[in-house]
Amino acid sequence: MAFASIYVPNFILQAILCTEPALRGQAVALLDGTPPLSTVVAINDFARQAGIEIGMTESQANQFFSAGKRCRSRACEESLHMALLQMCWSISPRVEDAAADTLILDLAGLHRVFGSHKNIARELMRSVSELGLTVNVAIAANIDVTLYAARGFTGITLIPAGEEAKRLAGLPVSILSPSVEILETLERWGVRTCAELAALPVLQLSERLGQEGVRLHELARGARVRSLVLAESQLRFEEEIDLEDAVEELEPLAFLLGRLLNELCARLQGYALAASAIHLRFTLGDAFEKEPVMVESTSTAKSAPALYERTLRLPVPMRDPKLLLNLLRLRLQTDPPQASIRKIALAAEPARLRTAQNGLFHRSFIDPEKLELTIARLANLVGSSNVGSPEVLDTHRPGALRMNRFASAPVEMKVRRKICRASASSNAEPESKPQKTVFALRNFRPEWLAKIEVRENRPVHIHFRGMRGKIVAASGPWRTSGDWWQEEAWRHDEWDVDVRFDSTAMLKGHNLHWEMQDGLFRIYYDGLRRDWFVCGRYD
């Protein structure tokens, strides 16, 4: 039995460096606390060389350098910790979440996949480096030994069974995390390393320090045995980022969204999952002011909403960060937030990845990812309500329809077989005629107001859009009504009319247009509005 431990030194600083890789080559100091009382809580080597020390106040740190100061971000730390956990779960299903910066893996059975312990350690280092982290990895037969070895030694440490006490001997006692009182006592005794603690007699140690002393003694010898406390996988795919400076434009926002989506998709990939929906949440700052307005009283607060929440529903689960970014960009272009953005949060609804089985003898269908992007672009161009598949509603109201999301439906198996058989039997395409050829009507949206001259209960002349025509044949009225119990009631008397326009009678002020040509029109008399309308033309 063997265990591996991963320790991220200077975790809170590395969490910031992961989100801002440009800071890696320069001195960085991390501040925590409420300004102006914030103090330096973490520094990198460059900052240490520059003279910065942990515990300095912000003003003291400013004396050494002005660039590279960042505030501690617990959101980034949580995000990084989750990414580490996901990575560990992708290697071993048994993982202990020992601390924010330390994770322990059970390596039982992994030698069949990765080989020796050294190979496993290298694989762990490689996987962690993809997250942009520098870590220590230790492998030993004892859980606590791996933990302290990873915290005490840099790089990869392999401890063979039986050598635990020997390898831990040189480490300071403080690494065992004793209480402050016990640590002071041990210091007074002159016990500073694990070897010195392990050399003490257990019985006397127990008399003076109690059970805590015995526990520390076992830890120092590498003899304490315990079970792994397994971390439970919470399939929450969320990423968020706090912004020091509010973002107002789409380009920098897209850059940040792209980074978050990369991390989100990497985590989804670790579980062989994809996103079926992306929830976008912005915490908004100051509202935009398009025009300078003289405000007399300061009490007129800006009415910008505090949150901007949108959901991007996807027709099929997707995991391509570039595609998702494009969809989000198009969505934000059509519906931008009305204020600057101070915090970005992205959450993905996980779903199984789409699998499709194509046939040899039928045409390939539209790639759903590409189709979604095309539809998003079209929606950006003409409006989302104007793109989709029409659905005729179950009502007699004329023109009642709804636009649904268009999805290239997979072919039913029966249809596939039919097409395949027909294709195999002949080169010609199997044709099946629709029911009949219907005389199509082209709608005018909105309908045109018309004046109709009625004689003997039938229309004989029509005036609309500056034109006057003679109705040479008419069929009607076809009376419909409905929804009389609602406000949006209708009552139509519809007519099909054959109109011959009189070009000389065209009213002044209207251009000669295509509708000037003779043809068959559909007109109706609205019994509620008491007006005539031209609703379409047969074509």
């Binding site: 539209i366 672009r377 005729v392 007699h396 268009f406 082209r442 044949a473 009376r479």
Partner: protein
Amino acid sequence: MPRNFAQLRSQVERALAGRVAAPFEYRDRSATESVSTGVDEIDLLTGGFPRGALTEIFGPPCSGRTSLLVSSLGLRTAHAESCALIDACDAFDPCRAEAAGVELKQLLWIRCRNFNHALRATDLLLQGGGFGFVCLDLSDVPREMVRKLPLDAWFRFRRAVENTQTILLIIEQESNAKTCASLVLKLEAGLVHWSTTKPKEVLAAYSGEALCRPPFAQLLDGLDVHASVLRSHVNPISRMEFREGRISTIIGGSSGSPETIFRANAMSGCHAGASIESTSRIA
């Protein structure tokens, strides 16, 4: 300076080496697949709509262009093909299309409010690819506006569908795509047919004039449509035989409100003629 043709040919081939594989070899166009338009008479005339090519249908309003489109959509969607309709003037009627057999779930309808949006939407759809049938409906766009569309736009459309399985159909009032269109079909309106619903004895009480006939006594039955092929790069046989010829077809009509459409469909018929002179009822 090359002395003979062989030298000239080898010099040209050397100059084009790496760019053109065989500059002097005739490359025959691959056989274009054509599919039915949904109307037998139009199929006889044109050989069907070619895939991977631009087809142009033009004619004045009320000449059966939209009816032909709806028939084609019905057939394409029946074959589970994804279809797209770019409606430049938002004039499409889904109720009648559904009654004509169009599977609306297979249809992407883009309702544009101006000409430029329609063109950009067409570009986006063709670049996205994957659709079996794309129709740009410019029927109600003023012809002056369509005329101003530069020729390179038509070339772009043609190039976008080349070597694909997409049928690109343009419907307008006059032909504008010129040589970019592989098939140009002209439609013209003919006689309007009205049928009576009352017995002749009842009608006899009224005078013989159509204007005096009671309106409830007649139904819009159909329309004569004359079709002629102006250009066909796809089906040379039909080009030879029907260049000067025309066919007539009567597209079935219906009357009344949407709920009566379904009843009227049973009454409406499709008259067809295989030649100019003869017409016969097929439905």
